[in-house]
Every structure is written in C-alpha cells, then in structure tokens.
C-alpha cells in the first residue's frame, strides 16, 4: 500500500448559522507522517468530525490548504477543491453507513465497481480483504443480519478494498460495547500497522487515543491544544485542558500562589492521582480529609477534601483513616499559569490557597 504524508495548513472553517457566524475550526495545522496512525482527540462539538469531513472532501474549509503528499487536494489560493473520490480516501463512519439493501459482498464491491474494475478482479480483491478481516463467511448476508462487531469489519473492509492512500475513521468503535471495543482496538492497530496506510482516527475517548495513536492532536472548540506522542501529552501537557483530558482518573488541580514578590501571581498546580502517596497526618505536604473511598478491582480511589478542593488519589493500599496527609515527588508536579498555560519551572516557590 502507498504511504502518503498529509499536510493540513491554516485550515479555518466558519459556519453561518441562524445565530450568526460560528468559528468551527481556527487555523488548524497538522503534519501527518506517511504510514502514521494519527489521532484527533477532543470532546463532543470540538470540531473533530468537521475536520475529518474536510480532509475527506465532504465539506470545504473556509480557508487553508490540504496536501496529500505533493498533491494539492484543497487550496483556497489556487481555487482548487477535489471531490472525495478524487482524493483516494476511504472513510469508516461511526454508524458504519453500510448500504442496508446490499449484501456484504455488494457493499465491499461497490467502490470497485465505481472504479470500473472487472468482475473477476473485484471478486479477488473483495475475498482477499474479507479474509483479512475474517468475514469471508458473511459475504452473502445483509447488514441487518450481522452483529455490531461484524458490521464494523464490513465497514472497514469496504474502506480498505480500494487500497486508498488515506484512511479516515470517525469514532468507529464508539457503537460497540466495552469489551468488544477493547478487542477491536487491538485488532485495528495490528491491521493498520500491517497495511501501513496513513490513517487519521477521530475519537473522544482518550484511552483509545493513548493506546492506538502514534501521535495525537487534541482539539477544543476548534482550536488545536497540543500535538504530540501519547507520552508527550501525558508527561508534558501544554495546558490545563490537555492535562485534565488525558489520563484516568484525571489530573488533580490545586490553586496556589507564587511567593515571589508583592504581586503573588495565581497559578494552578497539577498532580496525577497515581503520583500521590497517602501518609498519616502531618507526614506529607498537605493534610486532607477523606470523603469517599471507591474500590475498583484491587485499586482504591480515595476522594479527599483540601481547602474545599477535591483531590483524588489512586493507590493500592488504603486503611480506613479519616484524616491523612498527601505526599508527592517534586518532579511529578505540573505548573500552569492563571490562563492555564504550562509554566516550565526550574524552581517555583509557592503556597496553596
């Protein structure tokens, strides 16, 4: 399969709605490497599906340029906008969008028919992809007769049958139940990596993103927050949004002040639940009251209250104390300024408020 790099440059999308103009995407810049499994992650309404549709060619940006390799796929300057089909992309939809009245075979053959392949070649290709996805026994069935997981494979099969240069996936796993989702996650990753197609995968589930992606771009309300590998996002989040979005349970945030000068700027300190150690009172950095303890499997989630702020700690041992103190290593602290932007700290002296 071909490996294509994707370049999204200064893409902006404005919608004119009844309530006025909405900025759905604000100067998005992405560089996706050939063969990369690239994730676009964000909460509902952040614009990730719009961005995917734009890359697919189903919608057009208001401004910007998009390149697949050297080929210009969209350019407002050059007044060029290729149809989806001309871009050689394939897409897997959240609802699969399988043609209900056609058999699995016909669904998968449809793109090839439009490419005017000969019947024999179509048959070969469909069977080959079907075998790869282990659905070759389902070829004569209709979508309604299949389970959710099977339908999803058919959707993927229909996408792959064309050996596209770009594969787009719009929350393909969100309609599956939790267990199936976990299984398919692994299968998908293996499949995509084997085939080596450049893939853009959209999701709101950060666990999915962190386990699947080579690199992740986090989107919030149309603005790109941070792009990087899962480790970069986890260990060096650029702002409080990214910090709070990545990782389960999410990072704790505490208000603090810098004891520096008369100004005493406010900052936010972030510390992950897994990095906090519970100690008897007065043996740690701060004292807190235990409000609630949840046990999940063999782990405890301890909810404490500190100066009216909630902190969650994840730990393997906990005995039922009411008052505790919390301790964490200095390096595990994240500092954010009053706007939520990351502060690279050498040494910051602060006090909690």
């Amino acid at each position: 399969m071909k490996k294509t790099a994707i370049l999204v440059r200064n893409v902006k999308k404005i919608f004119s709605t009844a309530k006025g103009r909405v900025l759905a995407l604000d100067r998005i810049n992405l560089e996706i490497k050939p063969g990369e499994l690239f994730i676009i992650l964000g909460p509902s309404g952040c614009g990730k599906s719009t961005l995917l549709n734009i890359i697919a060619g189903l919608e057009e940006p208001t401004e910007g340029e998009i390149f697949f390799g050297d080929k210009v796929v969209f350019s407002d300057k050059k007044h060029l906008s290729l149809e989806p089909f001309e871009r050689d992309v394939a897409m897997v939809f959240q609802s699969y969008a399988l043609y209900p009245h056609m058999t699995v075979y016909q669904n998968m053959a449809f793109p090839l028919k439009n490419l005017k392949y000969k019947k024999k070649k179509i048959r070969e290709q469909v069977i080959k992809i079907a075998q790869m996805l282990r659905i070759e026994t389902l070829l004569e069935r209709k979508p309604a007769e299949l389970s959710g997981g099977q339908r999803q494979r058919v959707a993927i099969g229909r996408a792959l049958v064309r050996t596209p240069q770009v594969l787009l996936m719009d929350e393909p796993l969100s309609n599956l139940d939790a267990q199936l989702r976990a299984e398919m996650r692994v299968e998908l990753k293996v499949l995509i990596k084997d085939l080596g197609i450049t893939t853009i995968y959209v999701t709101h589930d950060q666990t999915e993103a962190m386990t699947l992606g080579d690199r992740i771009a986090i989107l919030k309300e149309g603005v790109l927050q941070q792009t990087g590998s899962p480790d970069e996002l986890f260990y060096c989040p650029k702002n409080t949004f990214v910090a709070g979005f990545i990782g389960t349970p999410s990072m704790n945030f505490l208000s603090a002040e810098i004891i520096k000068s008369i100004k005493k700027p406010n900052i936010t300190i972030g510390i992950r639940p897994q990095d906090i150690e519970i100690r008897p009172p007065n043996k740690g950095i701060i004292n807190a009251f235990v409000k609630l303890v949840e046990k999940i499997g063999d782990k405890y989630l301890v909810h404490v209250d500190y100066r009216k702020q909630k902190i969650i700690i994840e730990t393997s041992n906990f005995s039922k104390e009411k008052e505790v103190s919390l301790f964490w290593p200095k390096e595990k602290m994240h500092f954010f300024d009053k706007n939520g932007e990351r502060i690279e700290s050498v040494e910051i002296r602060f006090s909690f408020v």
Binding site: H79, L80, S81
Partner: protein, 290 residues
Amino acid sequence: MEIRFHKRITTAYIFVSPLLLIIFLFILVPILGTCINSFFQDIPYLPKKFVGMRNYLILIKNPDFWDALKFTIFFTLASVSLETILGISFALLLKERFPGRGILRTMLLIPWAIPTVISARIWQLIYNYNYGLLNYLLQGLGFSDKINWLGTPQSAFWALVLADVWKTTPFMAIIILTGLQAIPEDIYKQAKVDGARFIKRFFFITLPLLRPALIVALIFRTADSLRIFDLVYVLTGGGPAGATRTISVLGFQYYTSADFGLGAAVSSLTFLIVFGFSLLYIRLWGIKKL
C-alpha cells in the same frame, strides 16, 4: 463561498428542473393565461377583444355570480363541519379495540377509492324520484309521498352535502385516527386517575393534541370544497335551475356556453378566493412550521 459551490448548485437545479418545468408549463402558465384571458371578450366566431375590467364588472352586477359564491360558501361550511364531526366520531370509534375493527377500518377506504364522478352517479340514483333508494325506503316505511330530492334548492343542497360527506369523511377519519394514535396512552391514564370524565378528556387533551393534524386537514378540505366541481356537475349539473352552482361550475358554464372571457374571469376569481382563503387560514391558525 465554497469552491465547489457552483457545481453543487448546478446539480441541484438540474435535478429539480423537470418538475419545475412541468409545473410551470401546465399549471402556472395556464393560471396566468386565464387571468389574462379574463380581460378579453371571447365569443365564438367573433375576434377576441380586449375589454379591461368589464368582465369583472359584469360579474359583480350579476346575481348568478353572487348566488354561486353564496352557495359555495354555505356548501363548504356545511360539508366541512359535518365531515369533521363525523370524521372525529369515526376515528374515536376505530381507536377502540373491538372485534371487527380491522374490517371497518379497511372499509373506510372504499368511498375514497371510488372515483368522484362514479359516486356522484350512484348518489344520483339514490336520490332518484322513481328508482332511488331513499324514496324506496320512504315507501317501504309507509309514506305515500315521494320526495324530489334533487328538485328543490333546499333539498338539493343537502343532497350534495351528504354525497360529499360520504366521499370525504374517510379521508378525515384516517388523518384524525393517525393523529389520535400518536397521542400517548399514558396521558389518558393520568387524566382518568385525575378524575377527568370522557368529555373533559376529549376537549382538554384530545382536541388540543389533534390540533396540528386537524388544521392541515381542514385547510385542504376547505380548499377542496370551495373549488368543488366534479360532484356537483355530475350529480346536479348545477340545478335545479342553477340553484346548486358552485363557482367552478359557473365558470365552466360560461366557458362552454357564453363568453370565454367571462369564464376566465370567474375562474380567476375562484383562484383568488381559494388561494386567498388558504393564506388567511394559515395566518389565523399560525402554523409555525410553515
């Protein structure tokens, strides 16, 4: 504006153009043409002559026109009210579960399926002095006098109304039944628990919730009644002596026997009346969706 905008729009317009063309040519242009023709005098064997508003002035001064208008309006009022009341009654009946309901519901479609002119001739027979069902029943019940149902303006009016109601009540009943079935049963249960008796439930729950469907049905049915032609022409021919002429029938008679221009004038007025009424209706009942 997007780059592929023109392509998208062009495709859309190509897709809708056959429909728009057909409607333009065979509906819009004729209406316009009729309107234009109404300003001309057009009598057989004489050249067509422009006469401005004269046809309209003639109509305004002609009692035939006002009679036809009055008749049409009264007919509409009577017919639509009756078919609505009957339609609601039938719908309420068919909402209940009882043996034979399915058959009755199916039977409801029969009057609707019969072409209007055929039903007109059947009713013509039913009302017939010598061979009609009604007089036959009267005689069987012991009355010695037969009634000339279609012979007097009063009875002809009601004869027409009955025939129209027979034909159109099923349509009303089906629409209302569908609307009734869309009302969740829970609301009624709640109302019963709250102690509301049937009449109260009907006026405070059923009717308000039926309102949207009823309004749409009423607009169509009223417009249909105002422009009615088929039933009247075949059943009474506008008689006796023009007493049951609706405005459409009047227009037709002018077209075929007198001045084509006059017919066009009546037709244009008919259009204005029906259309104007519909707009009024929409304004009055405020259909927000539209």
